[in-house]
């Protein structure tokens, strides 16, 4: 049913507006939010693959150039979109479930922001229109800022404003890049632009085209939190509520892959494009893990590790082969799940101890064995320990680097994985294994059951994907074959 394709965006968007308008009815809002959130992972499962043309305007033949062009905004739904929208939909459901069970009185505006962000990333990955993607990219930035500002953590407003100021420079740069593409091709449809480039209808070496790459690339760096935006990105994770941070990082990954796939389709003919992506990915990997090592706030530590993991995604995409792109996108899916598990797990620790400084924690294994074991497995998955999903994607990335003739990149990827392992084990030791400090008061020793349940669900998916990676990689590989 292709009619379900636009519903993936419309349902969370309408839910956001309705919840915001009728949030004074607390019980009804809770039930409504739960039901809509449950629909989010189900719609992509039930929908058929295909295209949706808004307004029913199908592609038309351009008599001058002899190629088809798209007069309407088009949504394209394939296996790749199904997997990622399904994953983010599931995560949104789990996060909303935690939120609804944790608080007696729920905030309508906060639920509005969660649904709005989900709708935005869904639209970004579905759309075949670069301006449409930009609009939802801006909406996503607003939702992210709102989620951070809505948290009760100190200095969240400051961090939100900082992120917004940087975004207000990054977004117009991206729009300027889109403007240059519009000036060159007369279209904002990604397929039309890519066709014009690949058929030689526009000069791919012209300064204007290169400038458009530079500007859109800058916007992409901001959206992904790659250097030089890595500090602010990890900062917003640390200032959001833990369940909000779990969702924020999934938004970042979705925005990253949506924009990079668009850039890949348009600019893959330029050799500098792949060099740029690999360069910034390597920087992110090194900086992410090095800065994580120096952190004492474990939320910030996970934030930096998440940025480092983004580098692996970029590495796979930058290498530019079918296998490497599959590995990169599989890594993206794994990161969404693993980092969400870690944020929720460490959020449970904050809930139990009211402390985020690793130096002041210790001996929590005896108090919270379930959380500690699940966090350990999540951390091992992030570090790439077999047989978990992180291992499978990182192994594929190492193989891809070797097959592309870059053994040095394979060595680097392995070294960063080892460093990630060291960072995680060090933090894990200080929080769970080290003797409990005498001044540590466990005010509220219970961890919400909903958090443990959600961690369990994420862990099961992580293990299943680790044992059966072909469930996802085969479908992604076919999608990549289509765009290559």
């Amino acid at each position: 049913m292709n009619e379900l394709i636009p519903l993936m965006v419309i349902v969370p968007l309408m839910a956001a507006l309705l919840i915001s308008a009728f949030s004074k009815f607390n019980r009804s809002t809770k039930i409504f939010a739960f039901v809509v959130a449950l629909c989010l992972p189900l719609i992509p499962i039930l929908s058929n693959y295909g295209l949706h043309y808004f307004g029913g305007y199908e592609p038309m033949l351009d008599n001058v150039t002899g190629v088809m062009f798209h007069p309407a905004i088009t949504y394209s739904f394939t296996f790749l979109q199904q997997v990622f929208i399904g994953a983010v939909g599931l995560l949104t459901f789990l996060v909303i479930f935690i939120y609804l069970t944790k608080y007696k009185e729920v905030s309508g505006p906060y639920l509005f922001l969660l649904f709005l962000g989900t709708a935005a990333v869904t639209a970004m990955i579905l759309t075949d229109d670069i301006f449409h993607m930009f609009v939802f990219f801006e909406i996503l930035a607003l939702a992210q800022v709102g989620i951070v500002a809505a948290s009760s953590i100190d200095y969240s407003y400051e961090m939100a404003l900082k992120y917004m100021i940087l975004g207000s420079i990054g977004s117009p740069m991206m729009l300027l890049g889109i403007g240059f593409l519009l000036a060159l091709t007369g279209s904002v449809n990604i397929t039309d632009i890519a066709t014009a480039v690949h058929m030689g209808l526009i000069d791919a070496t012209s300064p204007v085209f290169l400038l458009s790459l530079a500007l859109i690339f800058f916007g992409w760096l901001y959206a992904s939190g790659l250097p030089p935006f890595h500090t602010i990105k990890s900062g917003i994770y640390s200032k959001a509520e833990p369940h909000g941070a779990a969702l924020l990082q999934s938004f970042t990954v979705m925005a990253m892959i949506s924009i990079v796939l668009v850039m890949f389709r348009i600019y893959s003919t330029l050799p500098i494009f792949e060099v740029l992506i690999v360069f910034f990915s390597i920087l992110a990997m090194i900086l992410g893990v090095s800065l994580a090592l120096t952190q004492t706030d474990f939320r910030r530590m996970i934030g930096f590790l998440a940025v480092g993991e983004l580098g692996f995604i970029g590495l796979g995409i930058g290498l530019g082969t079918n296998f490497s792109l599959t590995a990169g996108l599989f890594q993206a899916l794994n990161e969404i799940l693993i980092t969400a598990l870690l944020f929720i797990g460490f959020g449970a620790i904050v809930n139990a101890t009211n402390e985020v400084d690793t130096r002041k924690l210790g001996g929590l294994l005896a108090y919270h064995p379930k959380v500690s074991i699940m966090l350990l497995i999540g951390g091992l998955a992030m570090a790439g320990v077999p047989p978990l999903n992180g291992f499978q994607s990182k192994l594929m990335l190492v193989q891809a680097s070797l097959s592309c003739g870059y053994p040095e990149l394979s060595i680097l990827a392995i070294m960063v994985s080892i460093a990630t392992f060291v960072v995680f084990v060090k933090t894990y030791y200080t929080i769970f294994l080290k003797p409990k400090p005498n001044d540590l008061e466990l005010e509220n020793r219970d961890v919400p059951r909903s958090m443990v349940l959600v961690m369990g669900i994420l862990l099961i998916i992580i293990v299943i994907l680790g044992i059966f990676p072909d469930m996802v990689t085969n479908g992604i590989s076919s999608f990549i074959g289509g765009i290559l």
Binding site: E138, V145, Y157, L161, M164, S168, P172, L176, G235
Partner: protein
Amino acid sequence: MAHTQLAILLTSAALVIIGLYAAIFIDNIIKKIIGISFIEEGVNLFIVAIGYKAGGIVPILMPGMDTSWFASNAAYPLPFGLVLTSIVIGASTLAVMLALVMVLYKRYGTLSTKVMLADTSKQEEYDE
């Protein structure tokens, strides 16, 4: 390229450069935000300039108008549609930014970004 279009493009470039200068180098948060607005408006003006056609007509097909004559004389309407959306987004972003500034001004009593947006990790250490 028509002189008008060139003038518009140069103006938009000037707006973006002035805006970037203000957003990066000026300490006062309100002036920074004005700079950001300059960047946004400069980009919008650039996109409007793309749709400009020297001697062109408004891209609205009136009854009785010959379609081929209209197609060759009308300005390109797509950029205008895009800019309209872009302006709305810019206004929303601006509103949220100013709302955050209001809250922070009440907390710090200053508009200086050096005070207001100092490294939060250092602020935390200072508080301790």
